[in-house]
Amino acid sequence: MSIAIEQSDTELTFTQVLDAPRELLFKVFSESEHVKQWWGPEGWMMPVCTIDFQPGGTWLYCIRNADGEEHWAKAVYREIVLPERIVFTDNMVDAGGSPIEGLPPKRVTVTFDDVAGKTRLRVHVQLESAADLKKLVDMGFARHFPETLQHLEQILDSVK
């Protein structure tokens, strides 16, 4: 089933209807043995995925590609409402767990709505610095940074 993507100047939202009960999807989002199986970019493994699934608990993970390149990230669970909603803040970190400077933190809200036995899954990402990025595009500033503009155009095109 297709994934609908919406983007405003501060948000990114994915909506998808899955043919599975929301209790199962909630479990698949909250237990590391499951998360390891589906989460991550194309061609990357997840050698580390530790989840302390409780408000204030963390999800620490590492993704690694075939060349051995690694990226670490640490999420902190802000809100957990079984089986309806999970809210966490997600940040790239170094191998020691410290946030990487200059990368924007984001707040992710995952909601599981029951639709006659199926589940409408909604992933909502809020990016704090997006408002500034949008303003720069609006004023034509990005034309001086072709590569930035190109990225933004790709994003905007893909969500139309």
């Binding site: 089933m1 994934i3 993507i5 983007q7 990114l12 994915f14 998808q16 899955l18 043919d19 599975a20 199962l24 999807l25 698949v28 499951h34 199986q37 589906w38 989460w39 991550g40 970019p41 194309e42 200059g102 990368l103 924007p104 984001k106 899954l121 992933v123 990402v125 990016l127 610095s129 997006a130 500034d132 990025l133 303003k135 720069l136 004023m139 500033f141 001086h144 940074f145 590569e147 930035t148 990225h151 933004l152 790709q154 994003i155 893909s158």
Partner: protein
Amino acid sequence: MALADPTRRRILEMLSKGDATVNELARPFSVTLPAISKHLKVLERAGLISRGRNAQWRPCRLEAEALKEGADWMDQYRQLWEKSLSNLESYVQKLQAQERTGKGDEQ
């Protein structure tokens, strides 16, 4: 807001072509140097420019890197979720199929 003012936007455009001193930045405008300095302070506070250490010249520099990283990241993060959610669907289907087989109650 740092970007709301046309003078400040013009200053950023000028800095996108290279570092410049306050005097150089003030040249195209019919405003006083202190007025330009005030605009530069706003831009500096917003993290959009930085000022050199040299006390006399203090050249201004555009801080585009954080912004560019932000845009790159956003693109990557969108792709990451798109891919993951599509994996999720097949993974959940597999789980459900296993569950049915495991319980032996498949129709």
